[in-house]
């Protein structure tokens, strides 16, 4: 046990280099700073985009439409040009969006015909802020339309309320989840679930990828720096060596993931906002009743599933790391693991596991990482037994790979096992035996 801690300390010291720590801290700061900037921008009142208006109809209804726009918060700038060509002619003047109410606007509405207004949107940039400003301008047509609709309905229906006639049915929305029914806007629940469904798997993916790379690098750098042979000839239990490498890689990977999580939370919080924080008190209680707020028990299960996902990745990457000769070939050696991980990450995002063909479903469930990706959804849906079964399966896969790794460490495979892709390809082309095969 003492030697395990001696090895663990050395492994952590070797993995936690300045090259790892500085980018990690930089990333937390960068994400936090980006989040801060975005949330400040979000809180700041959006400046109202001025809208140039050319009223060629000069009628009571065109005046009414302009009034409706002003009431809706539009900042109107009257264009005094005699006609459309004049307003559009001087391209230098086209720095503001232009709304044109053509002649005959009122006549057509009064004759119960569809009238037209023209909107010239000016794109001054293609960033999100410029696009948001254009969206705001685009709403001017809807504002005029809504007001004219109110006018036309009022005119046709006599004393009846135009607003009531425009929207005679109101919907009460209920969300049913895991047998619990709550009166909540569906869009609010969708927003929350989507943020959880996208954010959690990204973190799980990062944690598992980091772990796999850490342990593969740890093995490969021992081989490349020629420190492995000294270590293997020392009086250490090989199991302690394997476990020290696994533990150190998991610790460093979790630290890296925590760094990403802190950074991402700040960033995503600023972009999407926190659905729970935004909800009013009643809605918040309803969301908690639905199980959409993580309980400590649920969090523990998700954490356990993530931990075993990481451990599985570590054990598999350790075997793959043995195949690599140097640090440069380490990423290539872990490619099969990356492919499997990507499959387990992406497919459940787009495929409904319950409705998918049995072969696909069982293939995905055979990948130990799938259970870590599915754990957040299953916990929220109250399928705790399923999560527990997944964890048990992950633990079994981990045990098998640790056994294999320890056996490989006990023999000489660590020094003699290698996969040289170029030599293998050369051999295949020439019909020669693969490396390691008897010639």
């Amino acid at each position: 046990m003492r030697k395990f801690f001696v090895l663990l300390r050395k492994e952590v010291a070797e993995l936690l280099t300045r090259q790892i720590v500085i980018p990690m801290l930089a990333m937390i700061l960068l994400f936090a700073a980006l989040g801060k900037v975005l949330s400040v921008q979000k809180r700041a009142p959006h400046p109202v985009e001025p809208l140039r208006v050319l009223d060629l109809d000069r009628s009571a209804l065109s005046e009414r439409s302009l009034g409706a726009l002003r009431t809706a918060g539009f900042r109107l700038v009257q264009d005094r040009s005699a006609d459309r060509a004049g307003a559009l002619g001087a391209s230098s003047r086209l720095t503001l969006p232009l709304l044109v109410i053509p002649e005959g606007f009122q006549d057509r509405i009064m004759e119960s015909q569809r009238a037209e207004i023209e909107l010239y949107a000016v794109f001054r940039g293609l960033n999100i802020r410029s696009l948001a400003a254009m969206g705001q301008v685009a709403r001017s047509v809807q504002t005029v339309n809504a007001d004219m609709s109110r006018f036309a309905i009022g005119r046709a229906a006599g004393g009846a309320s135009a607003d009531l006639l425009r929207s005679p049915v109101s919907g009460r929305e209920f969300v049913v989840l895991g047998g619990v029914v709550e009166n909540l806007p569906i869009a609010q629940v969708m927003g929350l679930v989507q943020s959880q469904t996208y954010l959690f798997p990204v973190l799980i993916f990062l944690a598992i990828m980091f772990s796999a790379q850490m342990v593969a690098m740890s093995i490969v750098s021992e081989k490349e720096n020629k420190t492995l042979e000294i270590l293997l000839s020392s009086p250490i239990d090989r199991r302690a060596l394997v476990l020290a490498k696994l533990t150190a890689s998991a610790l460093v990977a979790l630290a890296l993931t925590a760094a990403y999580m802190i950074g991402l939370r700040s960033f995503m919080g600023a972009i999407a906002g926190d659905a729970l924080a935004q909800a009013n008190a009643a809605a918040r209680t309803a969301l908690v009743h639905l199980g959409l707020q993580l309980t400590p028990a649920g969090g523990f299960l998700i954490g356990l599933s993530l931990l075993f996902g990481i451990l599985c990745a570590l054990a598999i990457a350790m075997v793959l790391g043995m195949l690599a000769d140097d640090v440069k070939s380490a990423p290539a050696a872990t490619t099969p693991l990356t492919i499997v991980l990507l499959t387990a990450y992406l497919l459940p995002l787009f495929v409904d596991m319950d409705a998918s063909p049995a072969a696909l479903r069982w293939t995905l469930l055979a990948i130990p990482f799938t259970h870590a990706f599915l754990a957040p959804q299953n916990v929220m849906l109250g399928k705790f037994a399923l999560v527990a079964l997944g964890i048990a399966y992950q633990a079994a896969v981990f045990a098998v790979f640790v056994f294999v790794t320890t056996r490989l460490f006990a023999g000489e495979a660590l020094l003699t096992l290698k996969f040289d892709m170029r030599a293998w390809l050369r051999g295949r082309r020439a019909g020669a035996p693969r490396p390691g095969e008897a010639s």
Binding site: R9, E14, T227, E229, I230, S233, G411, E412, L415, A438
Partner: protein, 241 residues
């Protein structure tokens, strides 16, 4: 007296390639025994087997009476191995590296501290021991690794090209240290390309080629037997068809 190392009929195959083809030799306690020969002669493979990191295909190897196959962990407690072109953990300081290695061999904090202090003296690195190893030159790293290999006072030290990468002054100093430690009873199995070094350093020499031992005796005896001025000439006469 119990031999430090006894090798009988040792063979080692890598797939279809036979690197070591049935060699026999023994190293006495306090003896410096050298394996010399060209690249691919089987020297490093023999050393790696003696260091328990490769398993023999055939034959037997015992260290102070302990069979390598049956008791590898016990053997690791009484040997130390220095591979050719070995490295050290680049992010540790020299002293931290010595402390780490000492803690793998010894249990008591006092024993570890004494071992580190002895290793620090042997390395001759002085204040640089507190710098990270990645700042060391090749020669400094080699001196640190040599100090590490003998600081735990192993019964058998297995050194592959011990002075590789060292300048003349440092190489001479290292050879003197090895001789002094052998006088204190430490046994050495070394391999080298440098015939002059082997002549100066070793009590007995085995000349290897193609996985076989061609001759094994004291350097002086080999020179007399082959009427040669030095070991290089002996080697050339033995290997020339």
């Amino acid at each position: 007296m119990l031999s430090a190392l006894v090798v009988l009929g040792l063979t080692k195959r890598y797939g279809g390639f036979e690197a070591v083809r049935g060699i026999d030799f023994s190293v006495g306690a306090g003896e410096i025994f050298a394996l010399v020969g060209p690249n691919g002669a089987g020297k490093s493979t023999t050393l790696k087997i003696a260091a328990t990191i490769l398993t023999p295909t055939g034959g037997s190897v015992s260290v102070f009476g302990l069979d390598l196959r049956r008791s590898p962990e016990q053997v690791r407690g009484i040997i130390s191995y220095l591979p050719e072109e070995a490295g050290a953990y680049r992010n540790l300081t020299g002293r931290a590296y010595l402390r780490f290695m000492a803690a793998l061999f010894l249990e008591s904090p006092a024993g570890i501290a004494e071992c580190v202090s002895y290793g620090a003296g042997l390395s001759g690195l002085g204040a640089r021991l507190d710098d990270r190893i990645k700042t060391y030159s090749k020669g400094m790293t080699r001196k640190l690794l040599l100090a590490r290999a003998v600081m735990t006072r192993p019964k058998l030290a297995i050194l592959d090209e011990p002075t590789s990468g060292l300048d003349v002054a440092n190489a001479v100093e290292i050879r003197r240290t090895i001789r002094a430690l052998a006088r204190e009873g430490m046994s050495f199995l070394v391999s080298s390309h440098n015939m002059l070094e082997v002549e100066f350093l070793s009590d007995r020499v085995a000349i290897m080629s193609g996985g076989r031992i061609l001759a094994c005796a004291a350097a002086g005896e080999l020179k007399r037997e082959h009427a040669a001025g030095n070991l290089e000439e002996v080697f050339m006469r033995l290997t020339r068809p």
